[in-house]
Symmetry: C3
Subunit: 142 residues, 3 copies
């Protein structure tokens, strides 16, 4: 049984959804290769950005995500009280909780056992944000 | 500390929500029985179907889920670009990320420690789909 | 490698969102302190209440959550069939699955590795509910 943990800071991304699978696997490549059965847990240390798994190929999926989430969680809803950081503030918090702040992916024979179309998305829900911090934890048997 | 992992393919389900707790526990029954404290992680290797935990008894809950998600994430929204596989394509991706692609359930004394009303739901969001692949991982102490 | 598990019952909370980070860390404080790298998994054994991670400081965020979720998942939608426990019944089930029934937080050097603004929210989605049961599981290396 092994446990590895690493904290990384992503580059700053514009508002929207972004595939970050490669940034994650690059950061844990050597530790991952030793695990025969295990888990990768990815945790984002923020409340206005999110992590989810979705379609990794067609960029229009990410554009449609952004449009749909902006419709379902609009800016300037008349009932928002928490808006002193701008109209994107409260919607960002709600999107973060709807999509989630972590993903956990099985590891099989040294590799992430993702479906062929699956990638890890960063949801950046603020108009402007610094690079987001992730905690990557791997555990399993070698 | 033990780690067990198994991949299964569910039968093909119609669009909607389905309780699959028994299919999962049947697949891991013998491994589960050896764990005194641990976790079962269930991961779906697809981006147009989801896993969640909800009410396991009254089938109208699943019908109401399907109706509500179809209202909240409609087909043919004017802003969708990704629709070349049909009008159910993009909504399926959004539903998958809203509900999530994995569930993790504590194991206590050889059994899933679910609440009495909790069951695992498969959300099948495509009109037609083959049997979905799940990765079942159990870890814990025996 | 250690595994600890504990079941706790929260006090009864009114409908809405509540920060419960301290109740959780108090319940596992001694076990947590022994883990250098690991995970805390918090699981709620109910289908009409939820767990999520969001902003721990400004109480208006929790008020805005309640208002937005009540708008996005209204009571008395004409298509609900499952409403024999009242108009808050079916919306509570949907909110529970949208927000999720568990959170998993990395442990680093004996402490939860949360972002500075992150706290664990209980989403209480029923008008009246007894204290909710949580299963707290800690695993990691010491």
């Amino acid at each position: 049984m092994k446990f590895y943990q690493k904290e990384i800071t992503l580059k700053s991304y514009p508002r929207g959804f972004h595939v970050i699978t490669e940034q994650i696997t690059a950061a844990v490549a050597s530790d991952l290769s030793f695990i025969t059965i295990g888990m990768l847990h990815v945790f984002i240390k923020h409340t206005s950005a999110s992590l989810t798994i979705n379609e990794n190929a067609d960029p229009t999926v990410r554009v449609d995500f952004e449009r749909h989430f902006n419709t379902m969680i609009p800016e300037n809803a008349p009932y928002y009280q928490h808006n002193y950081e701008g109209s994107d503030d409260m919607p960002a918090h709600i999107k973060a909780s709807l999509l989630g702040n972590s993903v956990q992916i099985p590891i099989t024979n040294g590799k992430l056992n993702l479906g062929i179309w699956q990638g890890v998305y960063l949801g950046e829900h603020r108009n402007k944000a610094s690079g987001r911090k992730l905690v990557l934890t791997i555990f399993g048997e070698s």
